[in-house]
């Protein structure tokens, strides 16, 4: 049996914003990976799928990132845990991840300009970046839930 930590009530809304944003961020990334994976594998409908991946990055991943990151700052300011190692994992993943998301969005946009062909190397790069980001976010979820250190 485990004693659960009871949170002060005023931490709940910032936590909801942070977790909700993170869930939407990962969900949009899964759509990017599924769409770009299919576009790379198949010829028919590849342009449509590449456009979907680009739109999911631009209209799903980036706005969700802003919500997740704003929620993170809000909850950290409430908890006063700026220097905890698990918070550091979250910051590293979020800030490094943003760079990869921007690179993936630019590559996906370039892939949509190729015409009706498969997205080729650009699409494969977006797929790899999406996979790396999903792995990094899995580590962040582990750090946020288990709070090592």
């Amino acid at each position: 049996m485990t004693l659960a930590a009871i949170r002060p009530g005023d931490w709940n809304l910032p936590l909801l914003v942070h977790v909700g944003g993170a869930m939407l961020l990962v969900a949009a990334l899964v759509v990017v990976a599924a769409a770009m994976g299919a576009a790379v594998r198949r010829g028919d409908g590849a342009l449509e799928l590449t456009r979907l991946a680009y739109r999911a990055l631009l209209l799903g991943v980036l706005p969700a990132y802003v919500v997740m990151r704003a929620g993170a700052e809000w909850i950290v300011s409430k908890e006063g845990v700026d220097d905890a190692s698990w918070v550091g994992v979250g910051y590293s993943t979020a800030d490094g991840g943003l760079l990869l998301v921007i690179i993936a969005a630019v590559l996906a946009w370039r892939a949509t300009r190729r015409g009706d062909d498969a997205p080729g190397g650009l699409g494969r790069a977006v797929l790899v970046l999406s996979g790396v980001l999903l792995l990094a976010y899995a580590v962040a979820i582990w750090a946020m839930t288990t709070k090592p250190g």
């Binding site: 909801l16 939407l24 799928l49 979820i141």
Partner: protein
């Protein structure tokens, strides 16, 4: 890592999978059900929705048993189970309609089922964070 750490990590990871599956199905419901999009998103969407749904329920009950402060019959946990049943109840026909083109749902019905599933999932998240009555 303790049992509690494992249960909490996997419970939250399952919730992320559930929302990811819902998002993939939502793209098909609201973004046009073109054959290429269906091929790309139906299988991962349904798999994530199902695995995430079973994971949050089983691991959530496991947490309620493991943690001294909670019991599986607490109001906020029973409320979560009701919301889970609602989401699963509408997710079944929605998934079937998207998976099998011959059993496709009318667009309005598919949108209605998706909105109910999304609302129940959002309320589940609110319930898990705020734990009313705990």
């Amino acid at each position: 890592m303790s049992l509690y750490d494992w249960l909490l990590f996997l419970h939250v990871a399952a919730a992320f999978a559930l929302v990811a599956g819902l998002a993939a199905l939502g793209v098909l419901v609201f973004g046009g059900d073109a054959p290429a999009m269906r091929r790309a998103l139906v299988a991962p969407g349904i798999a994530l929705w199902n695995v995430g749904g079973i994971g949050v329920l089983v691991l959530g009950v496991g947490l309620a048993i493991d943690v001294d402060a909670y019991q599986p019959w607490d109001g906020w946990i029973l409320g979560a189970i009701v919301l889970w049943l609602i989401a699963s109840g509408v997710g079944g026909p929605l998934s079937r309609g998207l998976r099998d083109p011959s059993a496709a749902l009318a667009p309005e019905r598919a949108r209605m089922l998706f909105v109910v599933a999304a609302a129940a999932t959002l309320l589940l998240l609110v319930d898990m964070v705020f734990k009313p009555g705990a």
